[in-house]
Subunit: 220 residues, 2 copies
DNA sequence: CGCAGCTCTGAGGCGTTTCTGAGATCTCCG
DNA sequence: CGGAGATCTCAGAAACGCCTCAGAGCTGCG
């Protein structure tokens, strides 16, 4: 997955610098604008995954900037930052087209969590669990191989693989897998059978057997 | 545009009642669940534009409910309500899959503004929805193929395709489509039939089946 | 009225999934 | 080495999900 691109429109250069570093540490690719005019220009011409807009900006106010972007059909997710924290201010910000509104001062952790939430919306939950060099698409119940090839899994196959992949270092006892993935009444060997199915689809090394203890996720 | 549908999962019946009225006044169509189990069932089978989930719920905790919905490919926007307002609580809620997190007590105005922000659609007001290489003309109920050819859709066909196209990356469960496009009393297989009609008119790949989960818009 | 198109029902069919169980194979330890 | 227990492999039965489509009722129009 490529880095998420963020446009940060903030006139306080000190704060902008700190946020820029914070975002870079989290793996975002950040561009900055220090006034509304410049923010408008970049917002219209560049493509970003999220815009962070300070409400108070020189030249062009943050909310006005936001409105102009929205009327120009820019639908990028927008998080508005502001020192104005009254309910009426927040309502005004949201109704101007913001997707979220965070009041200064804020904790870095919360900003990051809200950014993650905004970024998630466009992926439509296409989150993946790492699976060695491949990945497990949790939304579509598919394994995505490094070259982009997709292998669809049946419901049970998916549940089993997900359980294994959720704790990749753990060794999962048969009984635990049977309880988690299958119904109470199923036979003792159901886990073995489904491990066999997974290995048919994904290759012999997809699941590792730890004799006497259980199974562990392997390399796909 | 039809009314927005909201599922309210809140165990405090007094608050639920008040919110229900508030939402009704604002033109939302609201359903309520008073515990997590019921919320899970409704969330999985119904079709809503936004879910409002209280964090503290009997039977099944709010965040656990949210996680279960997310693992079942429910990508509906979720607003979590909670008395727990620490930064760590908010981060936990957002990372569990919430799109927004509002701390009790809150002002009605802010809740409504945040709901509006969540309910806003990307291409609201547009006259066409993109449909792979083609487009869906919302005014004339026609699909416009790349070469300009037009295919007229019946009312139901159009509603179904529009629902799919509105969130092109999401997987739409059968039950959700049935609730949204067809009357309450229609049979279980009505969605299948109309998907079949769409495929007759637009080609086999117009709608993609994700076995066990639902349908997704494909390439036309 | 008669026709055409739309909506919905329900039945039949087909490929997939799930689960069982049994034989083959492996591994460890005495 | 040999046996016991663990694991693997796989065929088959039943259930399920999904697709297809004919037909009945309805609506609107000429």
């Amino acid at each position: 997955m490529a880095k998420s691109r963020v446009l940060l429109v903030e006139d306080d250069r000190e704060l902008a610098g700190m946020l820029g570093e914070l975002l870079a540490d989290e793996g975002y690719e950040t561009e900055a604008a220090h006034d509304g005019q410049r923010g408008l220009h970049l917002g219209l011409t560049g493509h970003y995954d999220v815009l962070i807009i300070d409400r108070r900006l020189p030249v062009l106010d943050g909310l006005e900037l936001l409105r102009r972007l929205r009327t120009r059909a820019v639908t990028t997710r927008v998080l508005v930052l502001s020192a104005l924290g009254e309910v009426a201010d927040r309502v005004a910000g949201l109704d101007a087209g913001a997707d979220d509104y965070l009041v200064k001062p804020f904790e870095a952790e919360e900003l990051l969590a809200r950014l993650r939430a905004l970024g998630r919306r466009d992926l439509e939950g296409a989150e993946c669990l790492p699976l060695g060099t491949a990945a497990l698409d949790l939304l579509r119940h598919e394994v995505v191989l490094p070259r982009g090839e997709r292998i669809t899994l049946s419901g049970r196959e998916f549940e089993l693989l997900r359980t294994l992949a959720q704790r990749p270092k753990a060794i999962h006892p048969r009984a635990a897998l049977r309880t988690r993935v299958f119904a109470e009444s199923t036979g003792e060997s159901i886990v073995d059978t489904y491990v066999y199915y997974l290995r048919l689809k994904l290759g012999r090394d997809a699941v590792r057997t730890v004799r006497g203890l259980g199974y562990q996720i392997g390399v796909v």
